[in-house]
Amino acid sequence: MFETIASIIKICFIVVCLLLPMAFLLMWAERKESAIMQDRIGANRASVFGIRAWGLISMMADAIKMFVKEDFSPPFANKRLFHFAPFLAMFAVLITFAVIPFGPEWTLLGHTVKLQIADLGVGFLYMFALAPLGIYAIALGAWASNNKYSALGGIRAVGQLISYEVVVGLSLIGLVMVFGTVQLDSIVVQQGDYWFNGWIPKWGVFLQPLGLLLFFPAGFAETKRVPFDLPEGESEIIGFNLEYSGLKFGLFMMSEFIEMVILGALLTTFFFGGWQVPWLFSDGFHFPWGWDFSLPHTAVVLLQVMSFLTKLVFFGWFLQIVRWTLPRFRYDQLIRLCWLYLLPLAVLNVVITGIVILVLQ
């Protein structure tokens, strides 16, 4: 009973308090952050009673506009698939977050609650099984629109996402080999170890630097953002969502931003210690230079959840910076990058990791 209630609360927390607000914030950040780095101010004109809240009201106005805007569907579209696709896209991204741990185990009223919706044995394999559902959403939406540009976008999306799905998986194999598990929770817990007398945390970034360099672009490509925004490529083919408007366009866009949140969460979880705070143990801080602070369990849990969220926000910010700095790839270069550079390197990474593990054993 408690488990069920806790799960429901966790799902609500994740969706209502984490994913949607984060996606919303990312949309806001996309505008304000790009503006600031481009010496602009960004959206700030909408106001309620004179309050502009640094453009947040603009975002709300946008959201309202999205909801009330005419929901147009092209006359020769396959209506059923056309309407279905955006919801599938949203579903696919929301469901993948289930396995990501956003906090440690929390002992509450005698019960131990894992701050993770589902601690599946298959771990992130679950994600790689479900995330490609988004590809169907895009392909279906693009095809159902009955538009040549959309169709091109859909085809690009399928090619790109499926290719990079492989690299995403392979680049994490090294990590799995190091930690010996596919369970995300256990990967995060293991990143609480330290090297060199506790000076350096055993984060994935230090264990698998090449893995990070491979996972980062591959994951980025999965979010379909510049420089990997070929399915959209608004100056070339306008994109798979060309015919979508109103709420359904909003769903596509939202799913894209949630994908960014997920990418941030994965980067955090795999390479940056998940909810771990350096030198924070279950009873408090133990710094290698000898300082100790003991903290109550709840405070530690909250700090660790905060740590997870902070890392998430940082990666959100960083992904935006990268997105607004770079030009876009060309389709053949993108595919070549995947199959000729990233994939062999990922295999190499697995081999090297294996050798290193063998040597260390």
Binding site: S34, M37, Q38, Y331, D332
Partner: protein, 402 residues
């Protein structure tokens, strides 16, 4: 840098798809249509359809007198209108066999070079943005904005400058101009550095542009390329050197040549030319001679306002120039005069029959040959290559369709 691209084999009997890129498409800044036959992402056939912005510029000039026609030249290459003004009036002056005083020549040269910077910055910005680089776009636009802020204070308008007149300019440069330009030159160089960092040293950008839109030097010549497009094919031709006009002979500057004939070089050469234009502006302002900017003949340029308001002679000369049946009438004859506009050789062919209005005013648009060569450039590539190719030719609808 980039490997051999997969080229679709004809024996596969690929069914092609027709795609109309334009007339209103984000890539086609300006209205132009590209009719593409694609197999997948590869372009098999390409055709460029122009004429969506045809306003009858040349015909309209025939209904306006020699000075009034200058407002139409603003609307040719609306990114660097002042160069068009200068070119037009240099042609008229050649027809009339007069020359503006040397200060006027320097002022025209400096303003032309400022416009060249603005044009290059806009072209680069648009090209960068279409490749997805929105940030360099805004940095470059910021750079252009500084120049426009300055020009607005001198010329009185940002786009529709209409600043030259037969025998001179509407006004002289103010005395604070050099100091203000100095600061903006620094900022321009700084923005150039930023663009180098963001784009020209970035592998993604290099991949997107290197080897793309190749056109051989022979083809470039036979299409009639001029300007940065031609010089990026390794051919040394610049009107400023081949047939010096204004004060370019007194200025020490380089004309960059690149030899790879691709989009990267067209992009890069514009950045280099911005630097050279900065040099010209600096030297021009330093050497700016004293004296009048306008030709002093009362039958050519308007008398000073003090004379118009204060003496019957000035008033009559003023009326004589402005009344319909009077005004400037070049002697019957024809002339072709070309200048180095931002995009290449901008030529005006004028025929006078001794009337008040040009009998014929024909423009050699700079971007017309580039647009003609566009199908050849994009036929080798993919849909995504249309974007940098199109960006690199810097097509300006106003000038192309006239």
């Amino acid at each position: 840098m980039s490997e051999e691209r997969y080229i679709p084999r004809n024996d596969l009997n690929i069914e092609t798809m027709q795609i109309n890129l334009g007339p209103s498409h984000p890539t086609t800044h300006g209205i132009i249509q590209m009719d593409l036959q694609v197999a997948g992402e590869d372009i098999i056939e390409a055709d460029v359809i122009i004429g969506y912005l045809h306003r009858g510029f040349e015909k309209m000039c025939e209904a306006h007198n020699w000075n009034q026609a200058v407002i139409y030249t603003d609307r040719l290459n609306y990114v660097s209108p002042l160069i068009n003004n200068v070119g037009y009036h240099l042609a008229v002056e050649k027809l009339m066999d007069i020359e503006v005083p040397s200060r006027g020549q320097y002022v025209r040269m400096v303003l032309s070079e400022i416009m060249r910077i603005c044009d290059h910055q806009t072209a680069l910005a648009a090209a960068a943005m279409e490749l997805g680089g929105f940030t360099p776009f805004l940095y470059l636009m910021k750079g252009r904005e500084l120049w426009w802020e300055l020009l607005e204070r001198v010329v009185g308008a940002r786009v529709t400058t209409s600043f030259t007149r037969i025998g001179g300019m509407v006004a002289d440069l103010p005395d604070w101009f050099a100091a203000a330009a100095e600061d903006i030159l620094l900022e321009t160089a700084n923005i150039n550095r930023e663009v180098h960092t963001l784009l020209t040293r970035n592998r993604i950008f290099i991949d997107r542009t290197r080897g793309v839109g190749y056109i051989s030097p022979e083809d470039a010549i036979s299409y009639g390329f001029t300007g940065p497009m031609l010089r990026s094919c390794g051919i040394e031709y610049d009107v400023r050197v081949a047939a010096p006009y204004l004060a370019y002979n007194d200025i020490d500057f380089e004309i960059p040549i690149l030899t790879n004939c691709d989009v990267y070089d067209r992009f890069y050469i514009r950045l280099l030319e911005i630097d050279q234009s900065c040099r010209i502006i600096k030297q021009g302002l330093a050497k700016l001679p004293q004296g009048p900017v306008n030709h002093l003949d009362k039958n050519i340029s308007l008398p000073p306002k003090s004379e118009v308001y204060g003496s019957i002679e000035g008033l009559m000369a003023h009326f004589k120039l402005l009344m319909n049946d009077n005004g400037v009438r070049p002697e019957a004859g024809e002339v072709y005069h070309a200048i180095e506009a931002a995009n290449g050789e901008l030529g005006y062919y004028l025929v006078s029959t001794g009337e008040l209005c040009p009998h014929k005013c024909r423009v050699r648009p700079t971007c017309m040959p580039f647009t003609q060569a566009l199908p050849q450039m994009i036929k080798q590539g993919m849909i995504a290559d249309v974007v940098p190719c199109f960006g690199s030719i810097n097509m300006i609808g106003g000038e192309l369709d006239r």
